[in-house]
């Protein structure tokens, strides 16, 4: 399974993952994300998806869980740099508007939690 790169910049946590987010890796990703949620003092989780080329319903469910957890604790999830393929998948299940999506750094900055 590919690496999950985690970098903290002030109140931002940047996570990058390259590969597919599908049923076979989701359970492992959930476990690895626990260390991120355990880290203190961050307000915004930016998940960089530039290297993700395939997302199934398990992957969508993974991001729904991240989003729910962030919302419950006053934090925010931003899906960053989605490929057209992933946008299409999210659109098919009417979830594009559910997530905060940023295409570039300006979008991210505009959506950061103060």
């Amino acid at each position: 399974m590919p690496e999950l790169h985690v970098e903290t910049k002030g109140t931002e946590v940047w996570v990058r993952y390259d590969g597919e987010i599908t049923f076979d890796v989701v359970e492992d990703l959930k476990v690895r994300m626990e260390t991120v949620f355990a880290a203190p003092n961050w307000k915004t989780l930016i998940f960089d998806l530039e290297g993700v080329d395939f997302l199934d319903s398990s992957g969508i469910g993974f991001f729904v869980i991240l989003n729910n957890r962030c919302s419950q604790s006053g934090q925010k999830l931003i899906l960053f740099r989605l490929r057209p393929q992933l946008r299409k998948t999210l659109a098919l299940v009417n979830m594009l508007h559910f997530f905060c999506i940023a295409d570039d750094q300006d979008d991210v900055d505009a959506n950061l939690v103060d």
């Binding site: 599908t22 319903s57 398990s58 969508i60 469910g61 729904v64 729910n68 393929q85």
Partner: protein
């Protein structure tokens, strides 16, 4: 031409023909009010009147002018093709040979003149009884024929049209019942495996009884197949039903049942007393003989056999009516001669049953005159289809990997469709990994078939617990982390079908690419 009086209680119409007015008066006075009399003097005038208004009884004297009594009788029975009218000939002087000739020509009675009125009346009573009986028989026949037509109309609805194309197969059939209702049954049913179940059965005898038993066999086959029953189960159930209903009578059924599975390249079949099916693989033809006796006499155990059925293979099933007919030589065509001719016909590049009939005609030196019901069913896999089966442990990483391989194998589908199909197949396989097996795990089979330029079919097969597909597959709440898989499958694919067959869950996903691709990614 008018009809003779039809009702049993209507007056009986009588015509007397003779030039002698005394004779005509004698006849008139001998008849009571139940008879309505017309008179003619000349034989030809009498026939003109007969053609205008058919009579129930015609009384013919000896003096007819332009013709004689025998000519009148022969006209009525011959040219007019009338066997109902009761004909009495009156004569003064007639030899036994002359009387024989008249009776032989079709007269019902001959009476010497002068007659006693009571005797003549008694002869007319005989005529009356003859007419009433004929009318009763005709009405009974009409009732029976109406019932037979009802049976035949119902049976027509039971005979499949096979008009709908079965993807991946070429199916042709021939069906010629010998009467209104038939004891032959044929069918071609789609299976959850993506294959077809073909059946040809022949019930002994003809008519309503055979049609009734045929309907019973059809119900068992169709209902059982819809519930995923095996060939063995269908044969055993049909035999049990027959033993319960007609087991102590002479009725029986021969039947050939076969499952064609192109994904596995396999034919499974069993024949109970039926004439040999003909399997064509490449240019080789193998007769598939019956492994058990016919159904309906005693309990049986059934054995299913297997043969390879690679792409382009075909199977011909038929009933014995196709070879039990007399050739110009007077010999029966017979099964051996038929099998040889049929083997040639099904090795043609394109198989047409009309061409088979043409071969029969050539062999018999005459168009076949069938005396039995005739049925033939040809099924072949489309030789242009490619198929493959992947088998893997139903574990997440292995399954994801095999889906990649399967989609790669079907790479000829348009690129814009590929991601959509892959996503749907991933969703289907993920469901197997999550739900099909418990702790012990199990196998996932991914069957892939491609019809070049038109269709791709993925079949996700597992041997775990039965799947109960929901009737609705909408989207869940946005905050729900699951429940979108079935929605994606149904949205992305053109056809989704679940079936359980021989202990397996089979989910079939199909995508066509003629025209615009809906929801391609």
């Amino acid at each position: 031409m008018a009809q003779a009086s039809a009702g049993l209680h209507e007056p009986v119409r009588v015509m007397v023909v003779d030039q002698d007015p005394v004779l005509r008066r004698l006849v008139r006075h001998a008849l009571d009010a139940r008879f309505v009399l017309s008179e003619a003097q000349d034989g030809f005038d009498a026939l003109d009147a007969y053609l205008e208004e058919r009579f129930d009884i015609v009384v013919i004297g000896e003096r007819l002018g332009s013709c004689d009594a025998r000519q009148v009788v022969e006209y009525i029975r011959g040219q007019a093709n009338d066997s109902r009218t009761f004909i009495v000939v009156l004569f003064w002087d007639l030899s036994p040979a002359g009387e024989f000739a008249l009776l032989h020509a079709g007269a019902n009675d001959c009476l010497r003149l002068p007659f006693y009125r009571e005797v003549f009346r008694a002869r007319m009573e005989v005529g009356l009884r003859h007419i009433r009986m004929t009318q009763q028989l005709e009405q009974a026949y009409m009732r029976i024929e109406a019932q037979m037509r009802t049976v035949a109309d119902l049976q027509k609805k039971l005979v499949p049209s096979l008009a709908q194309e079965v993807p991946g197969f070429r199916v042709r059939h021939l069906y010629q019942p010998s009467g209104l209702a038939s004891g032959d049954y044929y069918d071609c049913l789609s299976l959850p495996s993506g294959g077809v179940r073909v059946v040809v059965a022949d019930v002994s005898g003809h008519g309503a009884r055979a049609a009734f038993i045929m309907a019973m066999v059809r119900t068992v086959v169709r209902a059982g197949t819809a519930r995923g029953a095996s060939i063995e189960y269908l044969l055993a159930t049909t035999n049990t039903q027959l033993l319960e209903t007609v087991g102590d009578e002479s009725d029986f059924v021969t039947i050939f049942l076969a499952d064609v599975d192109p994904a596995l390249g396999r034919l499974r079949f069993a024949s109970a007393g039926h004439c040999p099916g003909l399997l064509r693989v490449g240019t080789q033809v193998e007769p598939l003989a019956a492994s058990t006796p016919m159904l309906g006499f005693f309990p049986l155990e059934f054995r299913v056999e297997e043969r390879a059925f690679p792409p382009g293979s075909g199977l011909l099933l038929y009933t014995d009516g196709l070879y039990e007919w007399e050739m110009a030589s007077g010999e029966q065509l017979g099964v051996d001669r038929f099998v040889a001719l049929a083997a040639e016909a099904i090795c043609e590049p394109t198989v047409y049953l009309d061409a088979l009939m043409h071969r029969l005609e050539e062999a018999g030196e005459m168009p076949p005159v069938f005396t039995d019901d005739v049925t033939a069913l040809w099924v072949e896999t489309d030789p242009t289809w490619r198929s493959v089966v992947f088998r893997v442990e139903a574990a997440p990483a292995q399954v994801r990997q095999v889906v990649r391989q399967a989609v790669e194998w079907a790479a000829e589908m348009p690129p814009e469709m590929r991601d959509a199909v892959e996503l749907a197949v991933v969703e289907a396989c993920a469901n197997v990994v999550r739900y099909a097996y418990g702790e012990g795990g199990g196998v996932l089979e991914l069957r892939v078939a491609v019809a070049p330029g038109s269709l791709v079919r993925f079949q996700v097969v597992d041997y775990g617990r039965p799947f109960d597909p929901p009737e609705r597959w909408g989207l869940p709440e946005e905050t729900s982390s699951s429940g979108r898989g079935l929605f994606l499958i149904h949205t992305l694919m053109d056809r989704v079908h679940y079936g359980r067959m021989e202990g397996a869950n089979v989910l079939t996903l199909e995508k066509r690419w003629e025209g615009a691709c809906q929801n391609c990614m």
